[in-house]
């Protein structure tokens, strides 16, 4: 049995860490964007799943992964629109709306998957993205294979982190988004539309979270299976908090969770006489520990989850 500390093993663990983090990062970015605008987004889970189904659907019909990507994002935006309409326009409790979306997506994707893929659902091999090596760079030990031997969506993920960061902190619209999550009346009074800002963020968040689902289908398993999001949306929610509603913080938190997930897989493999459930707990244990106090008291955007209505008599 190979040591846990060989160069080979470390490279593999880190590489797996990154791959396991990707769906989390996309979903966490969605969470950051939506919660920064003041809309609580417990529906990340459902949006990942919607994205996954969309990706499978698109790739299946058009036989090409890029169509899968586009359709997946569209499905995620549709799920986001439900949250926007109910939570922002009608002021329905955002947590209840989020739970409803999660359950709805779970049901409808399972149903549609049987219609679309039928009996071949579990044997299908959809077209997907392949890893490609950056010539030269990928032969650097450890770093090379981990960072420069991945597929398109991993690089897209890093681009998205940078883009969300720049948007939030370097553009006038990002300033408005940060403000609307803290004090929507200030934004309203400054002559901006609270509703439009929140719609924009929530729908864009739908697309981002859906990319996490696209990754699962187009880069990892090449088929759609029911409830394949498997709680990733909720881990991402924890990463949003741990990352302090900052895109880079969220990236780090997701990498941390991804690392422990990869580690536990490896430990399962290395210590087969220990019940595997014991190792399975590890990422969740870490996320709980991380949230309960390793890093001080988080301060969410002040207006998150609260419906905004102009004061009226």
């Amino acid at each position: 049995m190979e040591s846990l500390f060989s160069l080979q093993a470390i490279t593999e663990i880190l590489s797996t860490s990154l791959r396991l983090s990707v769906p989390l990062v996309f979903a966490a970015l969605a969470g950051v964007l939506s919660e920064r605008s003041g809309v609580f987004n417990i529906a990340l889970e459902g949006k990942i799943l919607a994205g996954a189904f969309g990706a499978a659907f698109g790739a299946f019909l058009m036989e090409d992964p890029y169509s899968g990507l586009v359709v997946g994002m569209l499905f995620g935006m549709m799920a986001g629109s439900i949250l926007a309409v109910l939570g922002v326009t009608f002021g329905v409790n955002q947590i209840v709306t989020g739970i409803a979306i999660n359950i709805f997506v779970l049901g409808i994707t399972a149903f549609l998957s049987r219609i679309v893929f039928g009996a071949q659902a579990n044997t299908l091999r959809l077209p997907g993205f392949k890893a490609f090596d950056f010539p030269g760079l990928s032969s650097i030990p450890v770093v090379g294979p981990v960072l420069f031997g991945q597929d398109l969506m991993v690089y897209l993920m890093f681009i998205c982190v940078g883009a969300v960061f720049l948007f939030l902190y370097r553009t006038p619209w990002g300033l408005a988004v940060r403000a609307v999550g803290e004090n929507p009346s200030a934004v309203d009074s400054a002559g901006l539309s609270v509703t439009k800002l929140r719609y924009g963020c929530v729908i864009a968040a739908g697309a981002l979270a859906a990319l996490g689902g696209c990754y699962l289908v187009l880069s990892q398993v090449f088929l759609f299976s029911e409830h394949m999001s498997a709680g990733k949306g909720f881990i991402a929610l924890a990463a949003v908090i741990l990352g302090r509603w900052n895109p880079v913080g969220a990236l780090c938190a997701c990498l941390l969770f991804g690392f422990f997930d990869a580690l536990q897989l490896r430990l399962q493999f290395n210590y087969q006489d220990v019940p595997h459930q014991f190792f399975l707990m590890l990422p969740y244990l870490i996320s709980i520990l991380a949230l309960v106090g390793l890093v001080g008291k988080p301060r969410p955007p002040a207006a998150v989850g609260r419906h905004y209505r102009r004061e009226a008599k």
């Binding site: 553009t171 940060r178 002559g191 901006l192």
Partner: protein
């Protein structure tokens, strides 16, 4: 060019059956401070919200420089050069001064160029003597500074007409003077200022013209030079107002409330009261003056039982109540408490007036029998109290949220005074109230004194304290600085103590 910078012509606005503005006409000369004076509920805020595009008027026209304008959103108001500083500031505490000022500005392109905005804001701030650091986080600024940020924001966005809604309500007496100087500077820079207030002395101090509103209508519109405080007050309230609450001669009895070396911590665990010692006799009003945040809130809470003492003793008559529970203090020892924050500590806003009036006694007969409410007893009780304290309401089943500030304060007073207390602690009882309500509250306090109650009256409004109190003590950083008989207590002398200068 019109003679008026801004005119509102015949503005009406109703909410359901309630007419908040009834054919209101307001004409403002350029480069002046124009006060809009009226009691709470006179329709000032509605009018300003119409002008700022938050409400659509049912009828009427708005003209700027003699030209008709349509203002249907805050954005349209800003574009027309109208800016508003709301009573509750529209600032985002977590953002910096610069970010707050730039928020929502048009024509910024894709990239947020904070550095160049910061330089321009610093320069503008300097030219008006605002002394604002554009890089500071807004929530770390004192409230007076935040107000300046709001004003700076409007000037930076080129507002010509500034609406200031009750701007002095957040300022200490010492800050008001500099604030008025700032308004003068704005005026000489050509800005037109609409100053919403219910305080007469402010109108006399700063306004050029004044429009008085009552019950949604304009009662008078005149130059300040044509009027005086007494006639303004009469116009605003609709009757004569006593300016000096008369303190009749009276004698005091035995000491009722005694604090000996009381120390206590604030919510953050820091020392808030430092060995405070005083006694109040039966039939005496003892005032506590001081700048807000020097231990006043903690003092009131220590006596009412909401906050434990770190050391020292509290006696009511001869009983040591230091360890007594809140309800024991209220019921057995007769300590009544009118808290500073009516909405947080004094009332349950979503409950009815009747329910709020039994918060102290809800579990006792006649209101509760065998664990169930007796609703008719509760209603009768509430109706009796409401008429005794002249609470204006539609029904005692109405949620207390929908009463005006003055009537909410009456509900609390009615509840607290009902049990014939021996000690009455009132914290900032006149905050945010209009003249009529202030007069009522002060008369109630004096009536309690004449009944032989020991009253502790905490306030940052020095004039109100001096009107009512027999003796005044000053809190400074948790220490009781000195105690002065009210005949010797001039604003100057108390003011020095408030600043921590011992006599």
């Amino acid at each position: 060019m019109s003679a008026y910078k801004l005119s509102l012509e015949g503005i009406s606005k109703s909410f359901g059956a309630v007419t908040a503005n009834d054919r209101v006409t307001l004409r403002v000369r350029p480069g002046t401070v124009h006060a809009v004076l009226g009691e709470n509920g006179a329709g000032k805020s509605t009018l300003m919200n119409v002008l700022y595009g938050l409400y659509r008027p049912d009828e009427g026209r708005i003209l700027i420089d003699g030209r008709d304008v349509v203002i249907d959103s805050p954005r349209a108001a800003l574009a027309a050069g109208i800016g508003m500083v709301h009573q509750h500031f529209m600032l985002v505490g977590q953002l910096t001064v610069t970010e707050n000022i730039v928020l929502g500005m048009k024509g910024q392109g894709l990239k947020l160029d904070l550095a160049s905005h910061r330089r321009k804001i610093a320069k503008l701030s300097q030219s008006f003597g605002f002394e604002i650091d554009p890089t500071a986080d807004v929530m770390k600024l004192p409230i007076g500074m935040q107000q300046r940020v709001e004003i700076l924001k409007l000037i930076y966005q080129n507002a010509e007409i500034l609406i200031l809604d009750e701007p002095t309500s957040v300022l200490t007496p010492n800050e008001t003077g500099p604030f008025f100087e700032l308004l003068e500077r704005l005026k000489s820079a050509g800005k037109t200022i609409l100053f919403i207030t219910h305080k007469l002395e402010e109108v006399m101090a700063i306004a050029d013209d004044v429009t008085v509103m009552q019950g949604g209508k304009v009662k008078a519109s005149l130059a300040k030079s044509e009027t005086d405080p007494a006639s303004l007050a009469r116009t605003m309230v609709g009757r004569d107002v006593l300016f000096q609450v008369k303190r009749s001669a009276h004698s005091t009895g035995e000491p009722v409330l005694r604090l000996a070396d009381v120390s206590a911590n604030n919510a953050r665990g820091l020392k808030a009261l430092d060995r405070v010692t005083f006694e109040i006799r039966a039939g005496e009003v003892f005032g506590i003056a001081g700048v807000d945040g020097n231990g006043q809130a903690e003092l009131a809470e220590v006596i009412s039982g909401l906050r434990p003492v770190e050391s020292g003793r509290i006696h009511v008559s001869d009983t040591d109540v230091t360890q007594a529970s809140i309800s024991d203090r209220a019921r057995r020892f007769g300590v009544a408490y009118v808290p500073e924050d009516r909405h947080r500590d004094g009332l349950v806003l979503d409950e009815s007036v009747a329910q709020n009036m039994i918060l102290r006694t809800y579990n006792r007969r006649p209101f509760a029998r065998f664990g169930f409410f007796d609703r008719s007893a509760i209603r009768d009780h509430a109706e009796r109290l409401a008429s005794a304290f002249a609470v204006r309401l539609q029904s005692v089943d109405q949620e207390v949220r929908y009463l005006s500030g003055g009537n909410q304060q009456k509900v609390i007073l009615a509840r607290e005074l009902e049990g014939a207390p021996r000690v009455l602690v009132v914290a900032q009882p006149t905050k945010g109230l209009d003249v009529g309500a202030i007069e009522f509250v002060q008369q109630q306090i004096l009536a309690q004194r004449d009944r032989g109650v020991a009253v502790l009256y905490i306030s940052t409004e020095l004039e109100h304290l001096l009107d009512v109190c027999d003796r005044v003590g000053v809190l400074f950083r948790g220490k009781l600085m000195d105690t002065i008989g009210s005949d010797d207590a001039t604003p100057e002398r108390v003011g020095l103590l408030m600043a921590g200068v011992a006599a």
